[in-house]
Symmetry: C2
Subunit: 255 residues, 2 copies
DNA sequence: AACAAATGTGAGCACTGCTCTTGACTTTCG
DNA sequence: CGAAAGTCAAGAGCAGTGCTCACATTTGTT
């Protein structure tokens, strides 16, 4: 049985060279992105660094948007890989620890790659619209990881229903329902909504640190403050009381 | 006694005309910003709309950065005005209601002015660095309003210390300390840190809605879900239990 | 009316994304 | 083996950008 249904032609030397050139372009684009930011990404500058005339790169990348899409997918996957690796460090039953690792990994990557983080979670690039069919899969890796985490905790009876269930959530967003049905989650509405809040809160805290440059954004949070936030968010998600292994949560992030 | 120490010269007609022209430029810039986004703001396009040659606007605005700064201050003040107005709708003792009004006002303005919201709280504009001495005052209006709200609640004995004080916050950020001392806040460290988390979480939830276009950001939260988030955040800040006027919080936002 | 300051003009430089033609090179097929 | 087909880089060119500068014009004041 062949690996794929279509016959896989072996790559010709030309195709190999072409693939390598595209890789080089993405690599150079990633560097420019990291230095100058997303909106200032210049195909001509990439061409210069590649040692080639500007029009030549259009042989490999359709236009600037295409390069942005490649960089978007690239960044999403790098973030997803690091989050997955950090989570996998801890045993599957240590839900609080895994949540902490997930949040810390997101923050670490964001602080190391602020421009790429901005491309993913910041204000949209003016003329650019990401093609959903290519970016949703890598773009949803982290939230899927978080939801899988919460669902696992719930199934293990380790997700405490918050005591303040007086506030009921009447409607979930269509996207949340899609995620829930798509993943076959078991968590009830209230906890799912709380998970979404935890999700956005995590990225809010990280974004304020990464984008913190304007008047309102002068939040150079020390590691301890972020660790506190993570601990509170874990409790908010329902991971606090039931898994009370933590009188002192493992708030410090590895390395 | 003169109003100010320096003798205030009455504005000459020339100065009046100049001020009006600058106002026009800012107004046109605001429109361009709202339509095309921050990074695509073009001085030449503004000049065209103003019916003048491109180099003429440099008589009024030093460069593109200067215009961005003016638009930044303009947006911060508009947001601050709307938040203040929404908060002032409710009596000073209705802390939970005022918190809800604050959050709803931020979200409403952000959804109405996504590009300007992106300029304030999104990824930084590539070559641009906001001058702190001119933007910090308008840029801190909302967080100051939130902190004043929490401090008032604390002083009135209406801010419940969370029961999970097992998680202690060891260090506040310098910025938080500066805000606390600058405002003469009475709230203790733990609640101040929670206030900061609530602050960033609020903007995280709003940002995901406003910027929600990429793969990870498909969070078209319905009003009810955001209202739920606001209610949970109010409780997180400590406004939940003690002010138990709300078996059902006033989760709907006015208008 | 005359002067000087303020304002508008147009050319020009360096940069951007992108298109198109031209020439050279490589692979493939008759 | 040679010709056709495919691939790639180069360079010119178009329209747009921020910004500067010399020059002309308007305008308020003396």
């Amino acid at each position: 049985m062949p690996q794929t249904e279509l016959a896989v032609k072996p790559p010709t030397p030309r195709e190999r060279a072409r693939a390598r050139t595209i890789e080089d372009i993405v690599r150079l684009g990633r560097e420019h992105l990291a230095v100058h930011g997303a909106a200032a990404l210049s195909l001509r500058a990439v061409a210069r660094d590649l040692g080639v005339v500007s029009s030549a790169v259009y042989r490999y990348v359709e236009n600037r948007e295409e390069l942005l899409t490649l960089l978007l997918i690239d960044a999403y996957n790098e973030l997803g890989d690091e989050v997955d690796a950090a989570v996998a460090t801890l045993p599957v039953t240590d839900f609080a620890g895994r949540f902490n690792a997930l949040g810390s990994a997101v923050r670490r990557w964001a602080l190391r790659e602020p421009a790429r983080y901005g491309l993913l979670f910041g204000s949209p690039v003016p003329g650019y619209q990401a093609p959903a069919e290519r970016t949703t899969a890598p773009g949803t890796r982290v939230i899927y990881a978080l939801m899988a985490l919460l669902d696992g905790a719930y199934r293990a009876g380790r997700l405490a229903a918050p005591d303040d269930q007086a506030v009921i959530v009447p409607v979930l967003s269509d996207d949340l329902e899609r995620i829930r049905s798509g993943m076959g989650l078991a968590v009830p509405d209230g906890l799912l909504a709380r998970g979404a809040l935890v999700w956005t809160s995590l990225f809010g805290a990280v974004s304020f640190e990464v984008f913190g440059q304007y008047g309102a954004g002068t939040f150079a949070a020390p590691d301890e403050l972020f660790a506190h936030h993570l601990a509170v968010l874990a409790e908010l998600a329902g991971l606090g009381q039931s898994s009370q292994r933590a009188g002192r949560q493992t708030a410090d992030h590895p390395e």
